[in-house]
Symmetry: C2
Subunit: 353 residues, 2 copies
């Protein structure tokens, strides 16, 4: 993913929609020509309470960030994001667990991979350290405790450990295992992109699309059952047709992020590889045309996601499958709307005026 806490070089504390606009950039709104579905706007009282709880957890329980990052944390809109993407949530506690996981994922990305002290160099060791906070590693005294102490000394690792404890309270063991697997996929995706960055390599589009199924929103998507208070059984979840639908949804949502964060990434200190830049590089297209083609690629992925989702339900008919696939589709739609309305974070390129 690339939904980081950072606001780019406009600097910490300058957050506001206008502060992000460069001459020519447009306030965020749905990208013209993008294929998406409308969603209901959630209740502010609900997501404001959720944000209060998440903030209390981040500050009091795990000391996630120094005071100067507070405004960035607040401006991300995690509570509204959760309400938009999990409309079927069983309770505020369920949304809280999902929100903690996303905050933790962003912290790992920011602090280990990206602009808040992260780097593509040495990332393999840092990411496995973080990953080990998701599933307690076992060895022998005194080394097992020494490793736990090391994890507790790192804010992103505390966030992973604590959010997985919360998730454990709302999910079955097999859904916890699924989530850890999806986070392993995410970390493998980060590491592939880190190697591109070190080698200053722009991958061909076929490779880029593969990697964006790993560095993707999959860990958020695949837990729609747990957040809704039920468990989609492993034998259904692991069926190749369901796996295909999840993979396509993960890709579609991640490409939405590429499109909405395009101008933000142009302003970041390190060059970012994203769908428009990959297309522009290999097809030798000017930015407007590359961005246009990226919209088409996204739309084609969305159409395929919807077609395979229908085919999956036909092959595995049943109320549980229908509910899980509906949850995935809801997540996709809510994710788009969060991006299209997060005016404090994103702007559209000027030529879309």
């Amino acid at each position: 993913m690339n939904v980081t806490l950072s606001t780019g070089p406009t600097g910490i504390g300058t957050r506001s929609a206008r502060a992000h606009l460069r001459p020519g950039d447009q306030p965020v709104r749905p990208i013209p020509g993008l294929y998406w579905h409308p969603v209901a706007e959630p209740e502010p009282t609900v997501y404001e309470e959720l944000d209060r709880r998440l903030k209390r957890w981040a500050v009091d329980d795990i000391a996630l960030f120094p005071p100067e990052w507070e405004e960035q944390f607040d401006s991300f809109g995690t509570g509204r994001y959760m309400c938009l993407t999990y409309p079927d949530a069983a309770s505020l506690e369920h949304l809280e667990a999902a929100g903690q996981l996303m905050v933790a994922e962003n912290a790992v990305d920011d602090c280990y991979c990206e602009d808040h002290g992260g780097s593509p160099h040495g990332l393999g060791a840092r990411l496995l350290m973080a990953h080990s906070a998701l599933e307690r590693p076992h060895s022998i005294a005194p080394y097992e405790q020494q490793w736990q102490d090391k994890l507790e000394s790192e804010a992103p690792c505390r966030a992973y450990r604590s959010s997985m404890e919360s998730f454990d309270r709302i999910s079955a063991d097999q859904v916890r295992d699924r989530e850890i697997h999806d986070l392993a996929r995410l970390h493998l995706g980060y590491l592939a992109e880190a190697s591109w960055s070190i080698d200053e390599r722009v991958p061909p589009l076929s490779e880029y699309l593969m990697v964006r199924q790993y560095n993707s929103f999959r860990p958020c998507l695949s837990i729609v059952d747990a957040v809704a208070g039920y468990a989609f059984p492993a034998d259904l979840h692991d069926h190749s047709k369901v796996q295909q639908v999840i993979a396509l949804a993960a890709l579609a949502t991640t490409l939405v992020n590429d499109l909405y964060s395009y101008t933000k990434e142009l302003r970041s200190p390190r060059p970012h590889v994203n769908l428009p830049t990959v297309i522009g590089h290999h097809d030798q297209l000017p930015p407007e045309e590359a961005y246009d083609k990226a919209i088409t690629v996204h739309n084609d992925v969305m159409h395929r996601f919807e077609a395979e989702s229908a085919a999956c339900l036909a092959e595995l008919p049943g109320a549980l499958t229908a509910r899980y696939l509906k949850g995935i589709a809801d997540w996709v739609d809510g994710d788009h709307w969060w991006h299209a309305t997060n005016t404090g974070r994103y702007t559209l390129p000027g030529w879309l005026a």
Copy 2:
């Protein structure tokens, strides 16, 4: 893992037990002081047939290696390794699927990480390419097919793709998913070790033991049910007590490999981090004492594995749990015996005379 096809700088084609002995080195046999259990020697007619099948697969089906690597392939003893570690196997076809997976894992390690063209540099992109061959990534025409063509052009990726197809025929969907997860763990472990190598960093023992639960034999261990022709259900497998037992078994077997391959790794072109070298570095011990302490660490992990296995069965009593835990213990014992008797591959340090 570090069970590579390579024979070290003695060179391709010089394989024989004697060719590996340096002055002072001892032919392999059980390491004095190591805690292990004896196993029954398998039937040569069975493992020789298995080796014939694996060779035919490697050569005819997936063109895994050039002719000059043939002797190394033969000398690894994959068939006997499989028979020793899966004594409960349901059929030769089941052993074949497990053997293909191990051959494929070794090919990925050799060709992408280690001495047959591998390197710690750029490994993130190569390993995710390989990983994507385990679970077909989905996008849209023509990029999806372009990526499949790329995977088919790479021998280690063909090996992963084909061995997972064989495994799919003998396993439930949820065991396939488990195996892909364990291979993601393996790849994250490789990437952590690659970053140590690039940074020339020797991790503290607590970190080393954590990482060796990822870069470990876990993908071989965890499929003992599938190879025996049954599926240990996800809700049992994903229980934290079972996860603990698997993690400790993965660590114990991997430390056995560290001890038996110690002299082999001393001769490899790049310095290898292993349990005795980590201990020697941080405790400032001469090699003999560091090796001795490494034996103690291994034995302590083994004792903890056995204690937690008994505790696990007490907490989750039942025939399926008992059978699965017995399968894990059998794998641990067979793995030790393969290492202790693979005279073509390993030697012991001279001071163990």
